[in-house]
Amino acid sequence: MNPENYLFLSALLFTVGACGVLLRRNVIVLFMCVELMLNAANLALVTFSRMHGNLDGQIMAFFVMVVAAAEVVVGLAIIVMVFRSRHSASVDDASLMKL
């Protein structure tokens, strides 16, 4: 088989993750879906690096992971704070971004 299948897989994962972001209301789950998307991207990067025979793709994936880690840390912190203030983990409850 050809490594392109990995790409197809990552595309699918990415899409699924995106749908999750759109559908789930629980902040944490939503956040996980974001992680899922990131991973999908990583898979693609890794595959690319293999296809082109150089490691830059992997470097990219590496950076993505690092950034994702940072993001998770901050994001979860925010989630905790929100939960403290309004005892709920639902995104829809924080709907003050109105005109």
Binding site: N2, L13, V16, C19, L22, R25, M32, V46, A61, V74
Partner: protein, 308 residues
């Protein structure tokens, strides 16, 4: 390590080894299933677990793609650290907190589905368009070892980015602590003050009863029973109550308590105490009301479930 076997025979120019193909066709669907699970499962914990699963599989794929370092990092950092972090927060927020399946935003589902479908199709089409029959493996790229290769790139070409990400991580850590650390603005209330205001507020003045009294075991999430055997939620920790994680008190326990009371009464030759209807929450009021007319345990159980 059986998955690592095919990795040794890597870097074929046109097509990968059948082993890898097999592996892909087995694990790929699993990964997809995990992803779907993440999205579709109602309880956050479940989705977290299925996500972890997906990530592990992805780690395997990395390895299969010759990204040994990343594969390991994936397992350690993601599946290890990040997902654990997620689980911690979940515990904090409530493990069994579930989304109700009802969509509140009108049209959200359809739009989401439409977008998802569209994106999927487009990405597929894009990739399909970009398909080139052959690919150059990582044979000579990984010649000096994958980690070394990465390192040589990381500390030469991408050194700036590397430093910057380091700064980013530091900032993230500091930010996280700042965010979660709560500044106390007023001095602590003294015990005296607390009790005073409790009395003023007319709330439960004496200390709360301990959980697990008369119960089969004294788990902290098991409500204590009142003399008539009705469980009192007051005895359970407020957080658990908030999360709705109060354990069921099984009917036998209740009956047994009642029986004991009966026996002691007859032993002392006292008249049987009437079953008091004194209850402390409407929840239990209707429950005990139901106890009289129908005696079905698990039905009772899922009723309380619904009551939550």
């Amino acid at each position: 390590m059986s998955t690592l076997a095919p990795l040794t025979s890597l870097a074929v120019e046109t097509s990968t080894s059948t082993g890898e193909a097999v592996q892909f066709w087995i694990l790929g669907p699993l990964a997809l299933a995990g992803a779907l699970g993440t999205v579709l499962l109602r309880r956050a914990v479940h989705s977290a677990l299925s996500l972890a699963g997906t990530m592990v599989i992805l780690a395997l794929f990395y390895l299969a793609n010759g990204a040994y370092f990343l594969g390991m990092v994936q397992i350690v950092v993601y599946t290890g650290a990040v997902m654990m972090l997620f689980l911690f927060v979940l515990m904090l927020v409530g493990v069994s907190a579930t989304d109700s399946l009802k969509e509140t935003l009108t049209g959200q589902r359809w739009l989401a589905a439409g977008c998802g479908l569209g994106l999927g199709v487009l990405l597929m089409a894009g990739i399909g368009q970009a398909v080139t029959g052959s690919f150059t493996g990582l044979a000579q790229a990984n010649a000096g070892g994958n980690v070394q290769g990465l390192a040589s790139l990381l500390f030469t070409r991408y050194v700036v980015a590397f430093e910057v990400t380091g700064i980013l991580l530091t900032i993230a850590a500091v930010g996280a602590t700042l965010l979660t650390h709560r500044e106390r603005v007023e001095r602590n209330k003294s015990q005296r003050e607390q009790s005073q205001e409790r009395v003023r507020a007319g709330r439960h003045v004496p200390p709360l009863p301990a959980p697990g009294v008369y119960a089969r075991h004294n788990g902290v999430d098991l409500p204590g029973l009142l003399p008539d055997g009705t469980p009192s939620e007051l005895t359970v920790n407020a957080t658990l109550r908030a999360r709705g994680q109060v354990r069921e008190v099984h009917r036998e326990a209740v009956d047994r308590v009642a029986a004991i009371e009966q026996r002691t009464a007859t032993y002392h030759g006292q008249p049987t105490p009437p079953k008091p209807k004194a209850v402390d929450s409407a929840d239990q009021a209707d429950r005990s009301a139901e106890d009289d007319n129908e005696h079905d345990g698990e039905h009772d159980g899922e009723r309380t479930e619904a009551a939550r």
